[in-house]
Symmetry: C2
Subunit: 461 residues, 2 copies
Amino acid sequence: MTVLEKFKPIFYPKSVMVVGASKDPNKMGYYCVKSLKDAKFKGKIYPINPYAQKILGFKVYPSIKDLPENVDLAVIVIPAKAVPSTLEECAQKRVKGAVIISGGFKEIGREEGLKLQEETVNIANKYGIKIIGPNTFGMVNLHANLNASFTPIFSKLKKGNVALISQSGGMCHIISYHGMEEGIGFSKIVGVGNRCNVEFADLIEYFGEDPETKVIAIYIEGVDDARRMVEAAKKVVRKKPIVAYKVGREGSGKAVYSHTGSLAGKHEIYKAAFKQAGIIMVDSCIELLDTVKALALQEPPNNGRFAVVSKEAGPAITMIDVCTDGGLTLAKFTDETNEKLKKLLPPFTIRTNPVDVAFASLNIEAYKEAVRLVLADENVDALLFFCLYHPGIKLPVEDFAKAKNKFKKCMVSCVVTPKNMWIQVKRKMEQTGIPVFPSPERAAKTLVNLTFYGKIRKMFS
Amino acid sequence: MTVLEKFKPIFYPKSVMVVGASKDPNKMGYYCVKSLKDAKFKGKIYPINPYAQKILGFKVYPSIKDLPENVDLAVIVIPAKAVPSTLEECAQKRVKGAVIISGGFKEIGREEGLKLQEETVNIANKYGIKIIGPNTFGMVNLHANLNASFTPIFSKLKKGNVALISQSGGMCHIISYHGMEEGIGFSKIVGVGNRCNVEFADLIEYFGEDPETKVIAIYIEGVDDARRMVEAAKKVVRKKPIVAYKVGREGSGKAVYSHTGSLAGKHEIYKAAFKQAGIIMVDSCIELLDTVKALALQEPPNNGRFAVVSKEAGPAITMIDVCTDGGLTLAKFTDETNEKLKKLLPPFTIRTNPVDVAFASLNIEAYKEAVRLVLADENVDALLFFCLYHPGIKLPVEDFAKAKNKFKKCMVSCVVTPKNMWIQVKRKMEQTGIPVFPSPERAAKTLVNLTFYGKIRKMFS
C-alpha cells in the first residue's frame, strides 16, 4: 500500500461520525459538527449522542453501534477515559481513521494519562486505525471539504497547496487566521497533538507524495522520532520545500511537556539537524507564513547573488543588512547593466546595486526598464523590490512579472502603503507570482530562506 | 536660550514659505504645498515661484524678496546649486529654520556636493538658521498642524506622544504608514537627511524636554557624532525611553554613504554603545513600532519576572522562548497563587506559569479571576497575555485593565483573530493601556524591550 493509499480513509473519508456531538454551543462537540457542516462536506455526517435527536439539522445516533453503515473517519470529543472503548466500537464499524480531540492523555504527565494513551495506541494498531491526536484541535483537508476540527472558521480557508503539520492547535489557528489575510491557500492542516501512530515523519512522507501539496510547513515543539523525521525530510526536500518553526528551548521544557507530551530536549541540536537535512528553519510564526507564501508563488533562486531596486535608500539598506546577515551576496552588475542604468536614470538616483530609482519612478517607462535590466543581468539570481505608496506613481506590475518570467528570476517585494491603498496593486503582484510583504526585513528574510532552499534543491538536481 | 526655545521657530513657525512650489503634480514642490494645506496649518503659507499666480488656492510670490513680511520657516525644493543663495535670501526675511528637501549634496559623494553642503552650513550658521536636511522628505509636527514635507498623507497622522528621528525618509514613511494602522500617535517626525547643523544629539536633547513627546524613536544608518549622541541619550533615558533601529553593517557601506552622506562604520560597536547608554535597540522597523506603541501606552516593568496567561499552550511556549532568550525569567508564583489557581481552574488546564486556561476561558468569571490572580502575585512583574478568537469567548477587557491598574503591572498581549473579528475588543484593550500584537513573538519581544528600559529607569530612580 502506498503512503497515499494508507492515508486516504483519513484525509478523503466517505463518511464521518462525531462521537460526543452536542447541541450546546459551550461544548466542543457542537463546534465539531458545525465545522463539518460549514465546510459542506459531501459525504455522510453522523453525530453520536445518546440524548439528542438532531444537531444542526443532522440526525443523531444514540451510539456507534446504532449507525446504519460502516464509517471511514471518527471525530472523538469525549472524556479521555471513554476513548479506548469507543475506539473498539469504532473498529466494529470499520473506522480507518480517528481524530481524537479529547485531552487527558500523555500530556497530563501522570500515570493515568500515559496508560490511557498506551491503550489507545494498542487498540488503534490492532485494527489499523490511524489516529490524529489525542489532544488536538483536529484536522482539515480543503481539497475534500473536510473540516474535522472544533474550529468552524477553518471551513472558510482558501484551498491551495500549502500543507501544515503542527504540534500546537493554537499555532494552527495563528497561521490559518493570518494565512486568510495573506491569501495563502492550504491543502491540509493537521494538528498532530500527542501523536499516537501518526508522527511528523509519516506526514512528511505523505505530503511529499500528495499531489495537492507543494510546500510543507511544520510547527514543532518536542519530537520523539527526530531521526526518522530527519530521514523522511531529506528525501522530500529534493522535490518539495519543508519550512519548520521549532520552539521549546530547555527553559520552556515543562510547558512543552504539559502541552503535547513531548520532551523538548536539545533544542539547538534539533534545529541544526533539521537545517542540515535541508529543512528551512524559521524563527517565528510570521516568518513561517512569509516563507511558505513565497514558496507557493514561485521557484526559489539557485544562488545567492541578489539585487535591490528601491524607491528609497533606507529600506534598501535594511534589506541588504538582512540578506548579507543571511549569507547572501549583493550582486555585482555586468558593465553592460551599469552603463544602461547610467543612461536610463538621472544622476540623483543610485545606479549601482542597490538601485535607488527615487523619484525617477514617476517615469513609468524608466521604472519598468530599470527592473527589466536588473532581472536580465546574468550576475543576478534574485531581486528584492521595494516601493512606497505615492499618489504620483503607477506600479507597472504586469511588466515586472513579464520580465521576471522571461529571465526566470525570483522576485520578492515589500510594498508599504497607508491603510487600504494599492490593495489591488498588491493583489495583482501576488497573482503574477511576486509575493508582497509589509516590511523590508520580512521581504529580505524571505529571500534568504528561498535561497537556502534553492541551493538545497540544486544539490540534488 | 533653552533647547525648547531654540527649536521653537522651526517646529512652531508662525509662517512658512515653500521655495520651489509648483502647480505640477509630478513635482515635489506641488506636494510640499499640498502637505501644508492638508494639515490645515494655521499660519501663513507662501509659495514661491516666478511663473505661477496661484497654487492650490494660495497666492504665489515670484521671489523671496517679494514676500510681504518676515517668515519663520522655509521649505526648500529647488536644485542643490541654488540652495546657498536662496538661504541668503531667506536670511533677509529673518528665516529661523529651513527644511531642505533637495538632494545633490554630501550624499552624492563628489566634491561638488560636499562643497555645496559646506557652503549651506556656513550660511545657516552665520544667520542662526537651523536646517533639517538637505536630502530629506521633510518634517512634521502634529501638534502645530505643520506638515513640512513632500508627503501630504502625513497630515492625516494621529496626534500623539511618539517622536521619530530618522535618517531615511523611506523609513519615516514605513513607520508612519504602519503607525496609522496601529493607531500610534506621533508628536513630531523629523527626517534629518544629511544633517547640516541639526544632529541626532540635538533632537534627542530637544525631545527630552518637549512636553508633547513621551517616547523617542530613532532610525539611524551612519552617525558622525556618536559620542555626543550617546551622551545626550544617557541623560534623556532617565526620564523618557529612546528606541533605536541601527542599520548599515559594513557590507552595506556604500549604499549608506550614498544615502545621506554618512559612513556606517563600526556597526556592531555603535549598537553596543547605544545599548550601554540605555537606548532600547531593536532589529526591525516593525519591532521599533511595536516597542514605541507599548511604551506610549504604559509604564515598563521594573524587573524581568514574567507570567503568561494563554488560552493555548503552543503560543505560550513561543512567548517563553523569546522572553528567556531576551534575559527574562519565568516568574515562580507564590504558594497562595498556585493554590488559588488550582481551585479556580479545572484539571485539563495548566495551572502553573504559563497558565493555559484552555476552554475554561468560556467561563468568563474564571478567566477574569485567573488574570487577576496572576497580576496580583508579588513575584510577577509583567504579564504576557495570549488569546485566540473563538465565537464562544468574551474577553473581559475592562476587568483585565482594572486588575492591571490596581496592581500596577505591565501587560502585553497577543490576540489573533480571523480578519475583521474582535476589532472593537482589540481597540478597547489598547484604549485601556494594554497593547495588542498579532503574533506571540512580537508581543514577547516587546516585553523584553520594555523590561530592558524598566531596569534602566530603575537604576536612575
